[in-house]
Structures are given as structure tokens and as C-alpha cells.
Symmetry: C2
Subunit: 488 residues, 2 copies
Amino acid sequence: MADHVAVPSKKVLTMDTMNQNVKKVEYAVRGPIVQRAAQIEVELQQGVKKPFTEVIRANIGDCHAMGQKPITFFRQVLAVCLYPDLLDDNRFPEDVKSRAQRILHACSGGSLGSYSSSQGIELVRQDVARYIERRDGGIRSDPENIYLTTGASDGIVTMLKMLISGEGSSRTGVMISIPQYPLYSAALAELGAVQINYYLDEEACWSLDIGELKRALTQARKHCAPRVLCIINPGNPTGQVQSRQCIEDVIRFAAEENLFLMADEVYQDNVYADGCEFHSFKKVLFEMGPEYSSRVELASFHSTSKCYMGECGFRGGYMEVLNLDPEVKVQLTKLVSVRLCPPVTGQALMDLVVNPPEPHEPSYHTFVKERTHTLAELAKKASMTQQILNQVPGIKCNPVQGAMYTFPRIHIPPKAVSAAQENGQAPDMFYCIKLLEEMGICLVPGSGFGQKDGTYHFRMTILPPTHKLEVVLEKIKEFHLRFTQQYS
Amino acid sequence: MADHVAVPSKKVLTMDTMNQNVKKVEYAVRGPIVQRAAQIEVELQQGVKKPFTEVIRANIGDCHAMGQKPITFFRQVLAVCLYPDLLDDNRFPEDVKSRAQRILHACSGGSLGSYSSSQGIELVRQDVARYIERRDGGIRSDPENIYLTTGASDGIVTMLKMLISGEGSSRTGVMISIPQYPLYSAALAELGAVQINYYLDEEACWSLDIGELKRALTQARKHCAPRVLCIINPGNPTGQVQSRQCIEDVIRFAAEENLFLMADEVYQDNVYADGCEFHSFKKVLFEMGPEYSSRVELASFHSTSKCYMGECGFRGGYMEVLNLDPEVKVQLTKLVSVRLCPPVTGQALMDLVVNPPEPHEPSYHTFVKERTHTLAELAKKASMTQQILNQVPGIKCNPVQGAMYTFPRIHIPPKAVSAAQENGQAPDMFYCIKLLEEMGICLVPGSGFGQKDGTYHFRMTILPPTHKLEVVLEKIKEFHLRFTQQYS
């Protein structure tokens, strides 16, 4: 190799040579403001004086981190699955033991340490299908249409990956709501798809308007090939719950415009407001009759991370696909096989979520008590959040009908907008950074989710324990008044 | 929407409209032969008569599925982490409890159900760094360079994703060994990279020859931009263990040719042959002096799935990056944040793997006994496999120096080659399908890993329990003799 003595000195992987799509990815939920929050926590530990003693993180739907307790039954079964010697431990009720044995029996070699089939453990997929049937009033669900996933994010990215193709004006366009959960924009950037924004109607409680879908689609058809419509219901970051009528209209629109529907339904148990109810896209699709149910392509997503369980760390989830071309389904199964399988502990947990204790079983009473308590607390906090924020002049907040977030609109005075621009920051980023530095509260600026030009918001979770949430809301109130005064 | 009454009847997602890169993906380890094996299992259950009573799967490195027992200490700590009430259970030794408390303390809200930071729990990354330092004789490892992953596969795909860019003749080329583990070819197909094959030398125990690297590189430079060199050591599917000298030569080659090195070292504890030893790429890189250690970009990968623990289902792993451009590192951290975090149970398990019981702790003795037993069994099976297969005329098998596989060369008579071609099958696929149908043994044809034209192989794991492995080997012998006779 004497002919290669000249050793190149530049790095192989640089900002210029790296994947340029990755550069375009943004993910505000864990963006710069959250990194600054972590720094401040270190500074506090080091004894740096601040006008607060702890950082309260209301930036991410991380339930257990905010003190929510795991469901006892779920954790007991998982502990026995991991260490089956516990089957002889008297502390565990019989239903915990039989459930653990049932799951272990479905794992190769009777161990959670084995790979499962790539689509997920068959028993779990059967249990998921039965759960969906119960939820949707008996409409049939086929375990062959269920794919277990590494959290809902994994399923969403996998389906988008299948759907994105073409170049130039035939490149796949994907319609997403604005505001949106930034997983969508991040995945689209990474995959090089065309993002098509449709705006939710803030004045009508973040509802979805078919006329706006139509506008966005017509405009997008001029420069790309729109093929996918993504819906988040209940909404993230906006907390609305879609009416049955709205879902029907969306399905009709997708059918007429030949769009693949992706329904992100991870907050399906998180519905708080009177008169609101969760309707799955699948159920409505079937109720619209065979003209729709036999034809509209739908992928819907669920997760172990939200609802009353909040088990984010397990990365459990599933997707159900409907009306997928059979050859495409073979391709999907092949694609997921490359990653071998979703985490088996997450699969086991998903099984428990879709198949909780039954009324005659010893764990039932405690399970129902825990679930009811968690959901009641969330409902109380949803209502308190809306009430306190709406007392603040310059903050306007839609009801938190569901999910775990509020996305209030904030008035930012023109002087503050100018100050932000001088800093090279979005005005709501400027606002949130100040709130973090002065109050120790970590929120995510609305610009990270998308919003109408000239409007400003932040996303805040309703997850902190009630007494802490009250502190957060009062601090935001105090800060907002001071901020407004300072820049008036 | 009256203007859209005409309802399109075609599906949105078809073989024509789907992502064409996904169509090119192949993953033999879970390919058609494994699907056929699953069908046969169902047929056996239904009472269909076969010349065997069970299918033995030697197609995938799935340790627990093959009867390997989990390490007691690992499972005890995980059970306590999942259900902390077990902290008061007398069955668990003190080190199990203190280790569980240590991990829980590092999780937000003291729960494995919380998200971790996207790069992984800081404590676990610190423990990984200390493990690497011990392994590599004190060479410093920085926890900031450690990324916890969802199995090694996730880390490998993430790094490839970062590295692949450009179009046409400046499209990134990635050098992979042939035979290879098909995760690599699958990921390159999905990402639309150029695959550059370099052939391992079967005659020299699957060793890596720098001249061959050079040949492959020179040829590839005519049509793409080679920027990455992937190495698997110990080898999958080939079972070789690279010498220190060979690793040094590879590093020098990468430095001279300006290639980013990816070292897949998931079998680092699986070394059986006398005179063979595992050398990490990082250690050799540092021993070559600052000219190399300050400059060569390296990502190396480890996993909870292999070695003596074999915990595939947890999808735990880590990667260590070296000499990464700081701006690129920010991009990498941003990219992994979109998926929120690797499964926290897998992270906890990774922590135990890199930080097992110490000699003074109560669990030490059992831990060492279990680890030694598993590795000794594997060594015995490696040697038995090689010995029995080499007795068969027409099968030639290199020593299984490490990892969990043998990749013997099989002679397929010309008549069988013709018969396969008439079936539209690769000759070794034809062979493996017949072996499955006639003997109930599931192997993966060499064509799924790549091989020199005109040569045929299969990959077989050495994981079945000794008595079953013996049956497998004897059945292969019997089949091979009959097959050869039939087609002579």
C-alpha cells in the first residue's frame, strides 16, 4: 500500500457529507429548551443560585416521571415473567401467576429473552384483536392484521417508510395537522417526503375542517403526489377529541381523494370532557358500510405509553392495518423482520393492557381502583389547567377534552417579538426560555409543533401531581403578567 | 365535495406505488424457509404425518429459544426493578436489591416506565464506559460517546443512516464482508446505499485479506463514493476470530483510504478456539498511537442478545463512537431523540451485563458458575459441530473459532443444481428446503449471506442443546449422503 502514503486529514463524516435529510429533522419535544433545562438542573445541584429550587418538566408526556404510579397487576405479572421462580411466592394472587404462565408459554423456550416472531407474539396479537373487537362493538379484528411495535412511533415511521416513494412532482405527500406531534414532521424530513400542512381550527376547539383539508390537498397536488392523511385523535398537542361526524367526514374525504389513512389513537382512554367520547377510525369506517370498510386503507396505532398505564419506558405498541394489498403486506412483514422483533417485555405489557383482570379475578378490584384513580386525576387536572390559564389576560386556552396536553395561545407584545428577532429566536421560544430561566418551568414553544403565522403558543402537559401543577400554573400566570408588562 | 363523486377503485399502496427500496430488502434469517418451518410446525400439530416429530430451528441465534438458561442475577434484579415491593422479599440477596435500587434511582420517578434520555440512562452509559475501559486495558472511554440502542441492529442502522448521502457516482458506498450478516445488505437496500462486497478467504479460515479490500475499493471507486467499512468480529455467519495483526491492518487501511469504520463486536465473549482471543477495534486503534487514535472515525456495537446472556428479546445494546465530528454528534443525538429512547428494560439489562456481581458480592459465585457453564457448553458444541460435519464427504467446515454459527461449504451435484434452476431456486435454497421437508431441520442457505459464485453453503447455529445438536448433525450427514446419491 506504498501508493497511499498521503494520509487524508479530513473527517469522513461531516456536516457536508452526512445525510442531508437528517439535518432537516427537528424534534422540539426534546429540543434545545429541554437540553437547557438539564443544564439548569446540574447548576442547581452545584449550588448555583436561581429564583427556584427545582425545574418542573411539563414538556413531555412522561407519566411515571411525573409521579404517576404503575398499575400493580401489570408490574406483578411482568416480575413473575422475568423471574419465574416467583411463581411459588405467596404474595402474588393466582391471576397474576396464571397470566405470567400464559405469556411465558407463548414465548420460545418459555423465556422473555427469546426473539418473538417479527410481527409480534401470536398470543398477544390474538389478545389485541379481541380487545379491538370489544372496543369497537364486535367488529371483527384479524390477528394477522396486527403488528406489535416498539412504541407507536415505530409503527408510524414503518408505515410512512412503506408509503414514501417517487421523485419530484410524483413524490409522496403526507397530510399532517398543524399543530402536530413533531414525530410526523421529523419522520417526513428523514424520509424526504413532502409535508402537507392542514390547519386545525383553534376558534372551534381545534376541530378539523374538511374545507381546510380540501384546500391543503388542492394546493399540494400542484407540486407532489398526496397519498397519506395522518390524524391524531385525541389530539396531541391540542387535546381535542374528534366527533363521530368529523371522523365520518374524514373517512369519506380519504375515500374520495384516494388517501391512505393513518390514525394515531394512543390517547384512546384519555377522554375527560362531558359529551366527548372516543370513536376509533376503524369502528366508524365499518359503520359507514362495506363501500368504505372494504376499500379504505387504514393503519391505526396504539401504545403502552399513555392512557392510564403511562408505561413509556417499555416501548410497547401495536398497529392494525386494514385493506392492505396482500403483496404489500408481505413486504411490510419482511421489512419489520430486519429488526427481528419489538422488545418482548413491551409485548408482554401490551398483552396485559389489552387483556386486564376480569371481574371474577382477584386482581380486578385493585386494577379498577388504580385505573379509575389515574384517569380521574387527569380529568381533574385537565379542567384545572384550562380554568387557571384562562384567568390570565393574554392567555387563551381551549378545553382539554382529552390526551395529556394543553396548547394555549399566548399574546406576545410586539416589543417582545422584536427582542426575540434580535436574538434570532422564534417569539414563543424566547418566551419559553425566559419562563425556564426565571421560573424553572420547562414547556415546549408552539413553533415546535407548527401554528398559524403570527400566533404563538406553548405545549404543556397536565401530568405533574395536582399540587405541583397548581404551582406551575400560578407561576406561568405570574410570569406572563410580568413578561407582558416588561415588553409593553 | 360534489365534484369528487367518482370514487377511485385502486388501492393507494401497491407494489408499484410503494417505496421501491423496501422491495429490494432481503433478510434470509427470517426468510421463506423459516416461514415454511412455521407452517410445518402447524401441520405437525394438526397430525399431518412427517418423517420427523419436531422442527429443530438452527436458523437464528436465539439462545433461550434453544434452551439456554438466563443468568439468575440479571433476572432477579430486573424483577425487583419492575416490582420494587420485592425489595422486602428475603429470597433475594442483598446485592440484587442494592443493584435494583441503584438502577431505579437513575430512572425518572424511580420507574422503568419513564422515558430515559434519548442517548440512554446516564448511569448506564457510565457503567458501559467503565466496562470498555476494563476490557481494553484502561484506555479511556467517555460516557458521552456511548449511545444505548434497541439491540445492536438499531445502532448499526442509525450510523448507516447518518453516513449515506449523495447521488449517482457520489452516492455513499459501504464495504461489507461476503458472507455477511444480512442486516447490512437489508439496511443498505432500504437506505439506497451502494453495497461494496469484499470476500472473506474461506481457504484461510474466513480471514480478511487487505489485498481483497483494496481490490473491492478500487473497483467501487469507479461508480460510487466508498466511505464506510463494516467488520463483524467474531464473524457472523462465518465464526472466525480476527487476529490482532489483521485488525491493525484493517485500521491502517481505513485511515489511508479515509473510511469510517463500523465494528460489529456483539460476539465479543464468544471465543472458543485455542490461540484465538478477542481484540476490540478500539483497543487496537489506541495501541497504534495517536496518529490513528486521534483521527480514525469508529463506531463499535455490542448487545445483550449474544455472548453468555443471550437475552435477545430485551433488545438491549450500545454503541461507542470515536472521533466523531462534534457537529455531527449533535445531529446523531437529535436523530435518536425522535424515537424518544431505547427500551428501558433493555437498558437496565445492559447495565447488569457491563457491571456484573463482584467477587465480594453474594451473587458472584452463582453468576460465574452460570456464565462459565454456558460458554463451556458453546465451546464444546462448536468443536463437535466442526468435527461431525467434516466427517461427511462433500461438506467442508472451517473451525468455529467464535460467535454461534458454522458456515460449511457443501458440494451440490450438477444434477441437483439443474433441478434447483428448474424450480427457480438457488441451489442451496433447494438443498435447505429438502432438508427441512425431509428431516425437519431449519437452516439458512448460504445465498442469503452471500458467497463466491459457484460455491454453496448453509448457516447453522451451534445453539441447540448438546443431545439435540448431535441429532441435527447426524441428520444432516444422513441427508447429505442421500441427497448426493439421489442427484449423482
